[in-house]
């Protein structure tokens, strides 16, 4: 009985992980399937053909390229806008702070379908032609809030002594920002950008509303799902998954190394007290 009690939780965790990972295993496995008919539902044999000819289904290659393009440019713009917003909110006192926080929080708590529908209404009413440009506008809009949240978390823990030290040593505000603030914020900005990119290439709902004739990878999958999904869709999804996992692992390892470095060399960064010491006569 005690044996059962002690192993109940680990056994449960194991089963829960099986549940979480099963669909991923299915996606990857079926990327190697050789379906005889149009449907990739039943396992019929192993092949590498789908990986070699991943761009065989018409339209899949251009859809993947579009997704990557939109992901990159909307991430860059949203990361810049979001970082500036986070700096203003954490570092400055200003009127309308509550309203600003609200404006950033609301897009995250609005269902995607409402965001997509409202943007489409705007574009229809202003006679703006939907396509690449409107997808870009929409993606920047919904990524910004996530960037703000990510960067803000880091800024709140930020040790301002380091900046004061730089200023005491004669650096002006801009130099301090570039040489001290920005490098220390870089990991947070990078995580925010990665998150933004992941959100962008995965987005279906909002994109579906504002895409016009432009097709991204999720839209390609949606179109295919109405007829039959070629195994190459599993290939692309598996590839995206593997890259994302590698990046995640790299991120974790990087964090571990940084922590270890800090622990073994606690004074690698000069402490403010030391910088304040008057120079020896």
């Amino acid at each position: 009985m005690r044996w059962v009690k002690r192993h109940l939780l680990p056994a449960y965790a194991f089963l829960a992980f099986c549940y979480l990972l099963l669909p991923i295993a299915v996606v990857i496995a079926f990327s190697f399937n050789a379906p005889s008919g149009r449907f990739n539902y039943v396992w019929e044999g192993f092949t590498l053909d789908n990986w070699v000819n991943w761009d065989a289904p018409p339209g899949i290659q251009s859809a993947v390229v579009k997704s990557l393009e939109i992901g990159v440019i909307s991430t860059i713009v949203a990361t810049a806008l979001g970082t500036l917003l986070a700096l203003a909110i954490v570092r400055h006192q200003f009127r309308g702070r509550g309203a600003t926080n609200m404006l950033i929080f609301l897009p995250m708590s609005t269902p995607e379908i409402v965001l997509g529908a409202s943007l489409l209404t705007l574009f229809l009413n202003r006679q703006i032609v939907t396509g690449f440009g409107t997808i870009f506008i929409a993606h920047v809009m919904f990524i910004v809030s996530y960037v703000v949240v990510t960067v803000k978390a880091r800024l709140i823990d930020f040790d301002r002594h380091l900046e004061e030290a730089a200023m005491d040593l004669g650096a002006n505000e801009w130099v301090t920002f570039r040489k001290v603030t920005l490098p220390l914020l870089a990991p947070a900005i990078l995580s925010a950008a990665l998150l933004g990119f992941a959100l962008s290439i995965d987005d279906f709902v909002i994109t579906y509303f504002v895409s016009g004739p432009t097709q991204t990878f999720p839209l390609f999958v949606w179109g295919a799902a109405r007829v039959s999904v070629p195994p190459q869709v599993n290939v692309v999804a598996s590839a995206i998954f593997l890259v994302a996992i590698l990046v995640m692992i790299g991120n974790v390892l990087w964090g571990l190394r940084a922590r270890r470095a800090r622990e073994t060399m606690p004074h690698a960064v000069p402490l403010p007290e030391q910088l304040h010491q008057p120079e020896a006569a």
Binding site: P23, L84, R91, T121, E173, A237, V252
Partner: protein
Amino acid sequence: MSFLHRHKGATPYLLLLPGIVWLVLFFVAPLGFLGYQSLQTGTFDTGYTFDWAFSNYVDAVRDYHEQLVRSFLYAGIATIVALLVSYPLVYWIAFRAGRWKNVFLILIVAPLFVTYLVRTLAWLNILADEGPVVGLLRDVHILGPDGRLLATSFAVVAGITYNFLPFMALPLYVSLEQIDERLLEAAEDLYASKRQAFLRVTLPLSAPGIVAGTLLTFIPAAGDFINAQLLGTPKQYMVGNVIQSKFLDVLDYPSAAALSFILMALILVGLIAYARAVGTERLTG
């Protein structure tokens, strides 16, 4: 940059300007247009005119209350199941997984790295009529000989639960991980049983995570239409399916806009009620 130096008071506004402009133009203004559209009458062919047609809202609720109720029911069940499934799991990671915590965390968010639509389609493979799950359930007579899982409410709710589970698990993990284990030791020193220690210490301290996870799961789930579309039939359609088809297939914009607003208003009302119940402090962190 010298401008910033001379006018220090302007700095925050300059930093805010581009982001705020973007959000006002492409988040606030569109909602305004959506509201404007929802009060219009007419058809796509004849054009729409604005005449304060509040009847659109009345008609939308009358015609689609079934889908509205279903959305909140499915989202509610999915949220509760996600909470029950992920709590013991993240509890185990936070307190028992030792140095492998980060690895297990990656495993929890791993589903998010598979394109949303593709991981939903994977459930088509798993729950297929010829698949192993249905076969097993038929053999043990939980399902009848013609019983199926696809095209049922079960499949749709299961899909929603799976898709949004990481959004429940992550905030839960963060709040459990922050608990000082000495508090639990103190509780046991004071003769609390394991069960009491959990109910009186661990559970209340993880409340912020439960609240955040509930919101992050429930809100997207209530607006979802992909799971109902791919794993269900029109009998399982949610309000998202109606909005989507009215906007993009039927081109009945006013009615679709009214439904969008109703969905948002209901979520907002739920949010406020929830905030009242648990306290706003916990809601915004």
